[in-house]
Amino acid sequence: MNGSVILQQFLTGISLGGAYALIAIGYTMVYGILRMINFAHGDIFMMAGYFMIFSMAVFPWYVSIPVTLAGTVLLGVVIERVAYRPLRTAPRMSVMISAIGVSYLLQNLATYIFTAIPMAYPSIPFLKQIFQFGSVSASLVTLVTPVLTIVLVIALMQIINHTKAGMAMRAVSKDMETAQIMGISVDKTITYTFIIGCLLAGVGSILYFTDRMTVYPYSGSLPGLKCFVAAVIGGIGSIPGAVVGGFLIGISETVLVSLGYSTFSDAFTFILLIVFLLFRPTGIFGEKATEKV
């Protein structure tokens, strides 16, 4: 394997990792606040893919992108409203089952509406431009993804650390009841969290599918799980952690595929998860929590 091949793989890995990182942030934020795995997040990401396909059929790309993002955000907020909010005081297992139910529903709904046959993802002309660096060639999306990811994460960190809404999010994730007593509207804060998470998932979806070129009803389920793993590895609740985890998983997946172990690339993610849960259950950036008796 020569240098340019390695560089090529590295670029692909970073690009995939960037998309994963954006989705992983959604998981980590929701988990940080609601202490639940939003099993439907991967399917929201899949639906965003379909939204893009249909809006591109009508609008030019610069209109389609905001339409897609708006649709994704709306979907996420509706799901939270209908499926999670009524269960706020219910046992954690019920909420998790509800999330699995939503995931199941979205997959079946997508199969019903769009059929199980993979649909071609429209190409956004400027993202598909090919660049040539010596013997390495890459489409623009490969370069845009990591850069955009970093920019969005920095912006997000600013929001969380320096705005009132961000402060509310931090407070609710530390202690929901106390935050409520302090006059923070928990429901509103959770809605904001879903808006941000879905917005990033929408961006991630555009970048991911531009690279993959097809969408089908189950194309969100495995990437979704992988991104949750990324969030766990990075330390659940930590946004930089989710980014690092996303890149780690994206790069290792690309490496495994390029070495010819593509059947194991999915399994590897879970092996990584189990190794982390065993030796560093709080992840790379996670805090330790003790249970009170």
């Binding site: 499926a83 269960l87 699995i100 059929t115 799980l225 879970f270 998860l273 008796v293």
Partner: protein, 367 residues
């Protein structure tokens, strides 16, 4: 008085069992014309085993494990590999050939199934060490991950000569009689019920109720959870074997996460912590999936075709049902209780009362 009720219940139970077996006998004797009903009953019985096994973990021990599809895959593959007739193996493994040491190894179906269950249990024992220390949602995602790993291993090219990789296995000899899968399922469920009713089963429930208190009462958390996990996986493996024989051809895609979700739906619908609930849930879900098939067919009323009815609509209805149960009817059908004749009788007695109450309620409104 108490004895009378007991006697009545026994008689009712015997009558019920008699009716069920008579019905199955009728189906069996006319199996050609009833193949559809037979197939639904067989499938429901098999899913009932997995559902009870999952309930043992989720509903009784409070361990939210999502690895069912993986353990079923192990059971199914072990059973299938060992019972495919030796003479048809070259055709099954026509691409890669079968490993020489395996080529002539063949077992009777029940022994193969038992072995499948034991291997699944063995895997569970190994997996349990790292995984059972985790808290609820981490446990769910880790077991789900393990199921995916198992699936990846089965489909791996390195195991082509054993599992036939992505080509899957076929020409698995099927059931000759409806009684075979039904009786095996009944035995499996009975064994699980017996365990759940023993002191070990009570220890499971204690862990579900309060881990800290259970530990303070001298219950070893890890050992007890491991026991529940191993036993549940054993029966899940057996159910996988049953499913392989039922389906007659399997591949790694049969055992995707959706399979686990379907089982979860059965358990939730029937009620977490209720064995009879899971059994009833299995028959409702499997029967319902068949019955709802008309949703997938184009429907025309008076020459106007209703646009909603086409392929996939059934599953949408189905997942909406699941959501309705989860959101509005969280306890499921049985809500942690078991079926009892007294409960059924009380239910029938309550029906007229319900109507009366409704009427009086309306009366109040009118005033």
């Amino acid at each position: 008085m108490k004895k009378d009720i007991k006697k009545r219940n026994t008689i009712l139970t015997i009558i019920l069992i008699g009716i069920i077996f008579a019905y199955m006998l009728i189906l069996q004797l006319n199996s050609a014309s009833h193949s559809y009903a037979i197939s639904i009953i067989e499938r429901s019985a098999i899913y009932a085993v997995v559902a009870v096994a999952m309930n043992m973990l989720t509903g009784f021990t409070g361990l939210f494990s999502l690895g069912q599809a993986g353990f079923m895959a192990i059971g199914a593959y072990v059973t299938a590999i060992l019972i495919i007739p030796v003479e048809s193996r070259p055709t099954v493994y026509y691409v890669n050939g079968i490993a020489p040491w395996l080529a002539n190894v063949s077992l009777p179906w029940w022994l193969a199934m038992l072995l499948g269950g034991l291997i699944a249990a063995g895997f569970a024992a190994l997996i349990g060490f790292p995984v059972l220390r985790l808290k609820s949602d981490y446990l769910a995602i880790a077991t789900l991950g393990f199921a995916e790993i198992i699936r990846a291993v089965i489909a791996a090219p390195g195991l082509n000569q054993i599992t036939n990789g992505s080509y899957g296995l076929n020409t698995i000899p099927g059931y000759h009689s409806i009684f075979t899968p039904v009786i095996v399922s009944i035995i499996c469920i009975a064994l699980m019920v017996m365990l759940l009713r023993s002191s070990y089963g009570r220890a499971f429930t204690a862990i579900r109720e309060d881990e800290v208190a259970a530990e303070a009462m001298g219950i070893n958390l890890f050992k007890t959870k491991e026991l529940a996990f191993i036993i549940s996986s054993f029966f899940t493996g057996i159910a996988g074997g049953l499913l392989a024989i039922y389906m007659r051809s399997i591949d790694a895609k049969t055992f995707q996460v959706t399979l686990t979700y379907t089982i979860l739906l059965i358990v939730v619908l029937g009620g977490l912590g209720s064995v009879t609930g899971s059994v009833i849930g299995a028959f409702l879900v499997m029967g319902g999936q068949e019955w709802l098939r008309f949703f997938d067919e184009p429907l025309t009323i008076g020459g106007v075709s209703i646009p909603l009815f086409r392929a996939g609509f059934r599953m949408v209805i189905f997942s909406i049902l699941l959501m309705v149960v989860v959101l509005f009817w969280r306890k499921g059908l049985m809500g942690g209780r078991e079926f009892s004749w007294q409960g059924l009788i009380n239910l029938f007695r309550r029906i007229p009362q319900l109507f009366r109450k409704k009427k009086s309620g309306e009366g109040a409104k009118n005033e």
